[in-house]
Structures are given as C-alpha cells and as structure tokens.
Symmetry: C2
Subunit: 145 residues, 2 copies
DNA sequence: CATCCTTTCTTGACTCGTTCAAGAAAATGC
DNA sequence: GCATTTTCTTGAACGAGTCAAGAAAGGATG
C-alpha cells in the first residue's frame, strides 16, 4: 500500500485538492480492496476521526471520476471500490457470500474483448464478471465471508 | 414473441402455477427486452388490468429463479430483465443513456471465457458487459434514449 | 503571511427501488 | 367440489444513495 505522501501526490496529479477525508478514503480503498461504502466510511473514521458519510460518497465519486479508484457493482450487491486501476483486470464473484477476487485480463488491453456485433456502439471497455462459488462456500458454508 | 399458449406451457414446464399476472409479466419481458421493472409493471397492467407492483416483483423473482427470464443490472442502473435465456449472450451498455443491446457470445458456451487464475472459485458463468456509447449518444445527444 | 475565491465538508432531510409482513384470493391435486 | 398450498393485495418499511444550504478548509495571489 502506497505511503501517505504518494497518495497525496496522486491526488495532486489528478488536480484534486488534498484534504484529510480524501487521503483517508483513498487509503481505505487501498487497504480494503472491493470494500463496500460503509466499510470505507468506518475505515476513514478510524484514520481521521469523524467524517460524514456524505463526504465519503463525494470523495468516492471524485476519486472515481479522476480514475484513482474504480467502482464495481455486481448484481445484487451495493457499490464496491478498488484502487487497482489502469490494467483492466476482471473479477470473480461468489454467488454464495458475494466475496470478490481479482482475475487478470485475458488479453491485457482495454477493451480486452471484441464484440462480434457492436450495434454501432463505440466501445471503450469490456467488463467481465465470472460468477461462481468461492472455496469456502463450495466447501459447504453457503453464506459466510 | 411466443404465443400465450407457449408462455403458459413454459410456466408449467418450470413447475410454476399459471396465473394472469405471471402470463402478463412474462409476455411483457418478451415484448420489452432489457426493460426496467416499472416498464414491466405498466405493460402487465395494460394486459390484465390492475396488478400490484409487489406481485410483479414476486413474479420476476420466480421467473428468474426458474430460468425463464434473466436479470441484468449494469452499474448505475436499476434491475432489468430479458427473456432471451440459455445462450449466454452478452450486452453493450451505453454510458450516455443506459440503453442496452445484445451481443452474441464470442465462443458460445457457458462459461465462454476462462479465467487465468480462478483463486479456487468454481466458476459457472462469465458475464461480459461492453461499455461505450450508442449511435445516438455518439452523435451528440448525451442523454436521450 | 493575509486575503479572497473556490471547492469541499457537515448536517439533515429526502428519494426511490426494492423488500417485509399479514391476510385474502386463486390455482392445483385428489 | 374441497382442501392445501402458493400467489396476490395492501400497506408499511428499509437502506443505499442523493439533494440542498450553509460552514469550513484548500490554495492561488500579492
């Protein structure tokens, strides 16, 4: 996980003002890959004291727009965020407990897949979600994390 | 679009009781591919008179569990449903207006893609969403459907 | 370092898709 | 038909996320 100074620099590079909530949220996303918003809120509060949930939502949107974090939202899940950006990797999602793991892109570019018929759409990304069951859920506990 | 008799038969084949709300919702999903729930509610009401929104939610869940319809939910969108099932095709989603079009699977099987490292997950499906802009939004109108 | 302007954060209310719960109604099996 | 089970109606509720207005903080400038 990057140092505070590096996180601060990445904010400046993205032309975003450096604030304690932003550093805390960005660090939280680095520390908790694929975490839901409320986890990030708690993590940010643990780092800087009180932070409003609204501030975290705003920060996450700003970071997402700036490309510093990526928002993912599998069906039947709330929004999740990750700090691994720029390599267009994909995800495996467990149907049992909702846990997520990273999967490297099969090709390595964006888009890494080509649609057979694009219907005139200008495609800039191919997002792949592999659905299945994680080792724990396969072993028999259907709802643990 | 299948006849009423065929829709009824598909319900029976799935061991689901045949009711007017179910026939109406199933027909609505066939008639409105990728429609949101409220569109399906209106369509169902147009077909059979008053139907509670709760009944539609229940029916959609039952149909989804039975495999008669497929639920899709791209990020930043509410749930959508389609009746084309069993061929594991994929979707192009417009970042501008949210419109969705079908894309045939690149390989034709489920899963049609193989993860490079599955982290021990037992994968049964690979869902692909191509993100881009539809012809209308590319042409300049950024928020029309 | 002081000031000003802009962006960001706090507070609190609110929206809306979806779900929960209990009783009424309808579908199937006998 | 009748009983049993499932499904539908009604109405309330939940919760992730958004909206809005004012207070606070960042950072450019002199």
């Amino acid at each position: 996980m990057p140092s505070d100074a590096l996180l601060e620099q990445s904010l400046r590079d993205a032309a975003l003002r450096v604030t304690r909530p932003r550093l805390a949220v960005l660090a939280a996303v680095h520390a908790h890959p694929h975490a839901e918003t409320d986890v990030l809120i708690e993590a940010a509060r643990g780092a800087v004291g009180e932070v409003s949930h609204q501030a975290v939502y705003d920060v996450l949107r700003a970071l997402t727009n700036a490309g510093l974090v990526r928002r993912i939202q599998p069906s039947n899940s709330v929004a999740r965020y990750e700090a691994r950006v720029g390599d267009n990797h994909h995800h495996v999602v467990c149907r049992g407990c909702g846990s997520i793991a990273d999967v490297d892109c099969a090709v390595g570019e964006t888009p890494c897949l080509t649609a057979t018929d694009d219907h005139g759409f200008v495609i800039d990304e191919a997002e792949v979600i592999y659905w299945g069951r994680c080792p724990a859920c396969t072993a028999g506990s259907p709802a643990s994390s």
